[in-house]
């Protein structure tokens, strides 16, 4: 924090990063309004990035709250590990696989990312701020998976899956659209990732849930469903609020710029639409569970808010407030119906990630043309092509990977371990060692 040294550092940094501009940077003064825009854009990425990073904590709390006590520490372990892995893999492989692609292409390049790589910036923002913002999206995708397949998957196969998901699978499909690959060329539109992030996470989760099978005792032989209530609803609620907060970064900074009045207005509209969709999703689930079950189900209200957020993510800018509310409310409704529907198919999704991220993600993506003028060229057909092609790729790739893991190292803990809980079985510790039966208490 020494100012004189900072100047030296800043100059060095400038030299390292944008060699051409650094020479012009001899004074700390602005050279032009373009510089101001550069800083605003960078700031938007950084703020958006740290808000999305915070979503990793949101997923952790949501999942820790919705699994049973005996699996809480494992869920925490998986979540901090997956965020860390995403941070390394997206640097080592992911970013350039996603953005080092030719326009209209199918696959990017394999190269470690480094800041200042001219390919990674159009010169209107710091390349490192862009990397940071893109990386947290990859981490979000992995967070989605961990919730669905909780309480029965072994730690290491999950982590290996995460390595491939954040390093390979996510970047490849991402390159098709945001990397300006073939889907982008066709006219597919997914503003902040209803399909690219949320459905992708959802498809990977679905493949895992199918191959892993449900938790022991969830669907008893005699028929019916045996619910396993989550261990801590306040933690689940906290997680939902964290995700809601993070989503302002997720959608808002996906505007990718706020150096002009138009961009600033756009970011502001994205904030309001995002909030409105979430609110409408929560209220829809609130009303619907009251009507259907005569009781409000808090966990479905939480899921409803998240489904509202996922739904608006494909296009948070063009809808009016009423449209945003409607889009979000339908997301909330989808969740209330899809959660028991999955149970009917005996697909065991511990936290509801498939309804929230996959189904509401599809809905959000398909409804994009509704709020676009025809001349924008966003069509239902191209949206469907995007949804289907990304879905097919991610589901197939994930299924193959899960299968390979199953056949090699195995993906599921033993029934005894599942009964004992993953915390004791795999970690050798307990999340709340002292409560109730805790061995430490006695």
């Amino acid at each position: 924090m020494n100012l004189s040294k900072n100047l030296i550092r800043a100059v060095i940094a400038a030299l390292l990063l944008i060699p051409g501009q650094a020479l012009a940077q001899e004074t700390p003064e602005f050279a032009s309004f373009a510089d101001t825009a550069y800083i605003f854009n960078t700031l938007l990425f950084l703020i958006g990035g740290f808000l999305v990073m915070w979503m990793a904590a949101g997923f952790t709390m949501l999942e820790a709250g919705l699994v049973r006590t005996k699996n809480v520490a494992m869920q925490c372990t998986k979540n901090i590990a997956l965020y860390s892995i995403a941070g390394l893999m997206y640097w080592a492989v992911g970013y350039n696989l996603m953005y080092g692609i030719d326009a209209g292409g199918v696959i990017g390049s394999f190269a470690v990312w480094a800041p200042g790589d001219p390919a990674t910036s159009d010169g209107s923002y710091a390349s490192a701020s862009d990397w940071f913002f893109q990386m947290v999206f990859a981490a979000t995708t992995a967070s989605i998976v961990s919730g669905t397949i909780a309480e029965r998957i072994k730690l290491w196969p999950f982590l290996i899956f995460t390595v491939i998901l954040t390093g390979i699978i996510y970047p490849i499909q991402g390159s098709w659209e945001w990397g300006t690959g073939w889907l982008d060329a066709r006219g597919f539109s997914d503003f902040a990732g209803s399909t690219l992030v949320h459905s992708t996470g959802g498809w990977a989760a679905l493949a895992g849930a199918l191959i892993l099978g449900p938790r022991m005792g969830k669907y008893p032989k005699g028929g019916g469903i045996h619910p396993f209530p989550g261990s801590s609803l306040p933690l689940a609620t906290l997680g939902t609020f964290v995700l809601w907060l993070g989503w302002f970064g997720f959608n808002g900074a996906s505007q990718l710029a706020m150096g002009t009045i138009a961009d600033a207005n756009a970011v502001a509209i994205i904030f309001t639409n995002t909030n409105t969709a979430a609110a409408a999703g929560a209220v829809a689930a609130l009303l619907l569970t009251q009507l259907m079950y005569k009781k409000v189900d808090l966990t479905l209200v939480l899921n409803g808010a998240l489904a509202g957020l996922v739904s608006i993510t494909a296009e948070p800018l063009t809808p009016g407030m009423g449209q945003a509310a409607l889009i979000g409310a339908v997301g909330g409704i989808i969740v209330v119906f899809a959660v028991p529907m999955l149970d009917k198919f005996k697909i065991d999704d511990v936290v509801g990630a498939i309804p929230v991220h996959l189904m509401a993600g599809i809905w959000g993506t398909m409804i994009v043309p509704w709020t676009h003028a025809p001349e924008d060229g966003v069509t239902y057909l191209e949206q469907a092509i995007g949804v289907v092609s990304i879905g097919a790729f991610v589901f197939t790739a994930s299924a193959i990977l899960w299968f390979v893991l199953k056949l090699t190292i195995g993906i599921r803990v033993s029934p005894e371990e599942e009964m004992m809980g993953l915390d004791k079985a795999e970690l050798g510790l307990e999340a709340y060692p002292e409560f109730g039966q805790g061995s430490q208490r006695v």
Binding site: I225, P227, D297, P340
Partner: protein, 112 residues
């Protein structure tokens, strides 16, 4: 000496304890238990799936008393713990052969 075991509704604890104190009972031990009986628990809904919770939270009191006091104690519990509604609980009486106060080594009635 008798060991009186009483299963009661949790919110009745204070009333029962106060009443027993007036009878001269100087100690008792309470545990949190779950009861199954005629009172049938209730149905919960979690994420669209109904399930019935068969067990009802109760408290179990264990009180060792002089055999001569046992009748009165049972009566007192029955009166103060009752609401007249299903699930009020049970009282059981079991013979105790020996009692010891750990602190002093006093035995039997002196130990209570």
């Amino acid at each position: 000496m008798k060991l009186i075991i009483a299963i009661i509704k949790p919110f009745k604890l204070d009333a029962v304890r106060d009443q027993l104190t007036t009878l001269g009972v100087q100690g008792l031990t309470v545990s949190e238990v779950n009861g199954y009986g005629r009172q049938k628990g209730h149905t919960e809904i979690y994420r669209g799936a109904e399930y019935s919770v068969n067990f009802v939270p109760k408290l179990k009191l264990e009180i060792v008393v002089d055999g001569k006091l046992a009748g009165k104690v049972i009566e007192a519990i029955q009166e103060t713990a009752g609401t007249g509604q299903i699930g009020d609980g049970k009282i059981f009486s079991i013979p105790v052969e020996k009692a010891v106060r750990i602190r002093t080594g006093e035995q039997n009635l002196e130990a209570l």
